[in-house]
Symmetry: C2
């Protein structure tokens, strides 16, 4: 089949008519598919069921430091939970605070604290006229929602194959004291799946911000979420790199077991310099007496150590690979030759990022929705929900089965083709 741009007006119209017929048939079939969020499939959740057996009424619920996990206390996490989360983030336990069940809440909390009390003695952001934030795009909608919620002005930063455009980042951070942070998903980024190169990470760690309270928000959400055994992205330890660059306090790193065990019932953690942790713990001591230590212990008893986590993640990969491949194969087979879109083929993480012709994303997603298939809202991968080119679509293959994903991809591809041809025809 020819690329669409090689087709004449009539040929496009014929193709469009054929596609619309197919679309009508799909709509009549009244399917219902959800590819909107990075939710693990139930087959993935099944993998962790035995974790629910490691603690029962006969268990000794003492932590390694002898503390009775059933009672109040141990505000910043069990030693063994710190170790586990440190290993996942490839840092050391002395940099870690273990929190409750979600890293999203830690990020919210970190920004809320900066807003109300400031960062390590600096002016609370609520007392400033303007606070700005760098947002590599496309990125994670829930990140952008937090900064938007606090009235922080978000600035789009191009996300390239090896990470954010560092020329752009360096300049903005150096010149504008109002720039207080940057959202980063450094490994298997949401949604493009790229990982930051060593060069990018070293430049990130060596930033010279005008704002003393500038922090890199390093959401290492997919640290161990590889799809393949043989090809795995690895990234530098940002905390160590910041130390080496003389910026030890410049980063907050986040991770959780949400997509390792059970989302919502996992363990989440923050990693940062000791100076940051001391400051944060002062606030924490007002906010909580301690998080769920029994759940921390449950995770540690189940995994034993980082090797246990990695072995577990291989099982996840076995479930995830066919899902990613189902989508990828369909895109290759049905969409490649038309030369009207591009997509990522990530080695890990939870998403495939699809770029369609500018101006076609919203319409495509709307058409899919009408056909019974929910995708992440178009624009969601950009601050304020505004994709300036209206071209990025995030595909989340985890929740469906490979068979469902083949159907879903077919619908998506038809919708992409229809909206693209319609656009081409109006421009002819």
């Amino acid at each position: 089949m020819l690329a669409y741009r090689e087709l004449g007006k009539e040929e496009l119209k014929t193709e469009l008519a054929k596609l619309k017929k197919e679309y009508q048939d799909i709509c009549s079939a009244k399917i219902s598919l959800d590819m909107s969020r990075g939710k693990p499939g139930s087959d993935q959740l099944d993998l962790s069921m035995e974790m629910l057996d490691v603690i029962n009424s006969h268990s000794d619920l003492s932590a390694s430091n002898g503390f009775d996990c059933r009672n109040y206390g141990v505000m910043d996490g069990l030693p063994e939970a710190k170790k586990m989360m440190a290993d996942i983030m490839e840092t050391t336990p002395d940099h870690v605070i273990v929190y409750g069940n979600a890293s999203l809440s830690i990020m919210y909390d970190s920004i809320a604290r900066s807003f109300t009390h400031g960062v390590m003695g600096n002016t609370p952001w609520c007392k400033l006229d303007r606070v700005k934030w760098l947002c590599p795009v496309p990125g994670y909608d829930r990140h952008f929602a937090i900064t938007e919620h606090f009235g922080i002005e978000m600035i789009n930063v191009p996300l390239k194959e090896d990470g954010p455009d560092m020329d752009f980042v360096e300049k903005l951070v150096r010149e504008d004291e109002a720039v207080k942070g940057i959202w980063c998903v450094p490994k298997y980024a949401n949604p493009t799946g790229i990982s930051y190169s060593d060069v990018v990470i070293k430049r990130m760690a060596a930033l010279k911000p005008a704002a003393k309270d500038f922090r890199i928000y390093w959401d290492n959400a997919y640290a161990v979420h590889h799809l393949y055994d043989e090809e795995q992205d690895e990234i530098l330890d940002i905390i160590q790199e910041c130390e080496k660059a003389g910026n030890p306090d410049m980063v907050f790193e986040f991770a959780s077991t949400s997509k390792i065990t059970f989302p919502g019932s996992g363990v989440a953690a923050l990693a940062a310099s000791k100076a940051n942790l001391e400051y944060i713990k002062k606030q924490m001591s007002i906010q909580t007496i301690g998080h769920d230590k029994i759940n921390q212990l449950r995770h540690v008893k189940y995994f034993k150590n980082i090797d246990g986590v990695k072995a577990h993640m291989k099982k996840h990969a076995e479930k995830m690979r066919p899902k990613f491949e189902a989508v990828h194969n369909m895109l290759e087979k049905e969409l490649r030759s038309a030369e009207i879109a591009s997509w990522t083929n990530p080695k890990g993480g939870y998403f495939i990022s699809l770029d369609v012709m500018p101006g076609c994303a919203k319409k495509t997603v709307a058409m899919c929705k009408e056909a019974g298939m929910i995708l992440t809202e178009a624009g969601a991968t950009y601050p304020y929900g505004k994709d300036p080119e209206d071209k990025n679509i995030r595909i989340a293959p985890s929740y469906a089965t490979p068979d469902e994903l083949i159907d879903a991809s077919r619908i998506l591809i038809i919708c992409v083709k229809i909206t693209t041809i319609e656009k081409m025809l109006t421009e002819m």
Copy 2:
């Protein structure tokens, strides 16, 4: 034995010498006791161990609404968890949001949200010059710590036998728009153990605040924490009373299972009007995808219903009664006749409140500490840690055994007597 005030200087000196000898002997014995915090004893924690069996790898983790509790979602709590928490608070599930493991965090979060985003559309407190708060005293140090952390000006309100001095509360709330809230522990108050009378609760619900965003922070921490079967305090449902009084939005109620199952690994909830909940959920949707639903399910499966909770609390009462009685009997036997102190004899909750002669609390607590016995810091039951009369001491009997509590009470009584006589002698 005579009341101390009936003794002459020489008699007091003789008594003091005898007491100091006893104190020296105790110090030499190098004991170690902790009565500082309201931590359940390990015998109480043992009561909930079987809750750890109700969910295992073979369990169906579907909620009553069919939702898979293992996955993301259900931000505001499982229907059955709402019902359980509503029953504990004696309200209805439609007034309830279920959170994570601690009500303290919900209270912090509520004030933080009011600070950054305001209460139901009102000016965020961070934009106001002054925010004031009413603090019935003596009260709970962690409440005061939150308001202090946000720079809120705390005003002491006398706490009487039937609740806060409502003449005082009504006047301040009516006249001063800067007054945005009041801390209340309405049942078995921390530390005095009193419960609010119907009259007080009705007056509370009928407040006419100058501030539209005034909220009663109703910490129903000891809702089901009775010590006796026969004599139990019951309080009116504040949410219903506020509705009746035409103030449906004026209250946030908090509760948790921290002292029912496992502190730190329990389930906590907020209850409020639907208008409040809608506003709060908007913020929550930025902050979290959902709390630990597996733990919610674990609690519901274990208790089944409110009768299960109540039956469980009877077992707690059986453990707690001998502890409270050990302290109370010692105070009656060894301290009553001296007529130098008064104390509460609560029917529930976690504390005994001891009032010594003004100016003697700090010294007493310090002496106890030197003898190896940790009490809550004197002053802690007042805002800013400042007991204006330096007379209140909070005793937390739960964590020790009855035998330990007899020893601990003996030490405490000796220290009270020594500091009192020393004070009397300087004033003679």
